[in-house]
Amino acid sequence: MSFVDLEDIRVSYDGKNNILKNLNLSIEEGQLVSLLGPSGCGKTTTLRVIAGLIEPNDGQFKVEDKDLTKVPVHKRNFGMVFQSYALFPHLTIKDNVGFGLKLRKESKATIHTKVMEMLEVTGLADYADRYPKQLSGGQRQRVALARALVIEPKLLLLDEPLSNLDAKLRINMRLEIKKIQQRLGITSVFVTHDQEECFSISDKVAVMNQGVIEQFDSPEVIYNYPKTEFIARFIGFENFFDLTHIEDRTYVTSDGTQFITGRSWEPTKKVGTIRPEDIELIKDHDYPEDNTITGTVKVRTFLGKSYQYEVDTSLGKILVQDNSGVAYEAGDKVNLYIPEEKLILV
């Protein structure tokens, strides 16, 4: 039993297609967990099940081992930040943030103190008497966060809260969310389709695909050791080739090249993959025989700090990023060295 438990959650809108299939997820107290995946993978549905906005067809949702599956939204005491922020346009910022406290019948003085304190924390104290319409996107985002946090919720739920902000503001805000989350020690669930955002903010990441969680690990583990091809593709692995198992840590490709891996992989894994930036480009003939394939440069793209090459090899098209400073031309013959510890099997 963890702080939050989702057990065998199934959600279907039409009775035929499952949006979520037997979804299990455990979240420890004080952690910030992200649900990462492409649109339509069920991450927002999962968040809405947690919030109580969707009742699952099957399964249980528990917090501190108490079954909350049938508890209505307004009795759960979770703070939620919506993608559209969903601020109340007819209320001032102060009243927006105080909305939850007012419903809890707290005294006017208490509400005022708590609201002003929260506005201070989120840097909105000067805007207390304004209306949402008069604020910028970033400020509205803070109001939404303040409004969700001031009720001292058991859980903080964030539904793509940064997707409507510009790139620079997004990076600032995610740092700020992380800081506030850690200071308050509040268990949080964060939904996003942006892997960088997700890795930078989360203690643990659940990567979702078609209604199931494919991997639930720390950002580092997911970044370095994606469990499935889907996850690998989603987080930046571009090159995939089939491998046949010869013996422990030794594989061979269809064209006979031998590959040594840095560790033992389960025998079920038969596809090798590597990030473009992890491949080493070697021009001369002094290269190791294993883990090396040869090819011809097809397209060179300038990326700023490095060049990206599309290389035609016997294993198909391979993408390589090289920041050695040497610029190869289209048509150049090159050797691609795939380091043992960077070669991942999925």
Binding site: L53, P72, H74, S84, F88, T92, F99, L103, R130, Q134
Partner: protein
């Protein structure tokens, strides 16, 4: 485009408005102020007669009551329609609009059948033994209110459905996550945000009831005269066009004053920071 061209293009419209809108209005109103010189005598006479005042107040009272019960029934119905699944919404809307497609005379006759001495209500009550004498329902203010309410409820619903549809569903959900049950979320968030729609609906229902002629004529009878039926009586039965014109202007002014009142209330209730924006 130069200013000259703009005026040129506008000219037909302006002429049309002057000729067909302003001219008839002025031709009715002017004589009520002119009797060899400027005079307010016609209006003084009208307001000194308690019979006339009773009709004016009855008209305003009935219009207000119809507006209020229109809001009472229209808001929940419109909210329900706005939140029903898309495939049902069209059907519900056409059901709402259906009465508007029939003539108001026909619709008022339907109420005669319901409220009359031998109507559905009396027959039902008599047969159950709850009453021994038929109730006088027809030719009362109650009958006018029922008839007008029935007549104008669709108008209220239509003005509100659009308003409710435009309110982001996440706003309702946000209120719920903050601890509001459905009713509280509706009262504290949805209702304040639907005020513009309520005001539009109220103005339409109020002016509709105030100016309706068939319904008070058929369901109110001669004892429960309203301004419109009173106007008709003066003009057609008595041939007193002067008094009819006076009544017409009073109706117009009443409508304008009430609309102003509605808008003032709306501005008070619906802020959203417009004064800064």
């Amino acid at each position: 485009m130069s200013k000259k061209t703009a005026y040129l293009i506008l000219t037909p419209g302006i002429v049309l408005l002057l000729f067909f809108l302003m001219l008839p209005l002025v031709s009715i109103i002017w004589p009520t102020f002119y009797d060899g010189g400027l005079t307010f005598n016609s209006y003084l006479v009208f307001f000194q007669d308690s019979y006339n005042l009773a009709i004016l107040f009855r008209t305003i009272k009935i219009s207000l009551i119809v507006t209020i019960i229109g809001i009472g029934f229209g808001v929940p119905t419109a909210y329900y329609i706005a939140n029903s699944p898309k495939k049902w919404r069209g059907l519900l809307m056409s059901l709402t609009l259906f009465p508007l497609l029939t003539n108001s005379v026909v619709r008022s006759f339907a109420w005669i059948n319901i409220l009359g001495r031998n109507g559905i209500i009396n027959t039902a009550l008599l047969s159950t033994g709850l009453i021994s004498e038929p109730l006088t329902l027809l030719y009362t203010e109650f009958a006018i209110i029922m008839g007008s309410f029935y007549l104008f409820l669709p108008v209220m619903i239509i003005s509100l459905v659009g308003t409710f549809e435009n309110i982001d569903t996440e706003i309702m959900e946000a209120a719920e996550t903050l601890g509001a049950n459905r009713l509280a979320a509706f009262v504290k968030v949805i209702l304040p945000l639907s005020i513009p729609g309520i005001i539009v609906g109220s103005i339409l229902v109020f002016t509709g009831t105030l100016t309706a002629y068939t319904t008070p004529q058929l369901l109110g009878g001669n004892r429960n005269m309203m301004m419109s039926t009173f106007l008709y009586q003066n003009a057609m039965a008595l041939g007193d066009w002067q008094s009819a014109s006076v009544i017409a202007l009073i109706m117009i002014v009443t409508t304008l004053l009430v609309m102003k009142g509605f808008n003032t209330v709306a501005a008070k209730l619906d802020k959203r920071g417009e004064k800064y924006a």
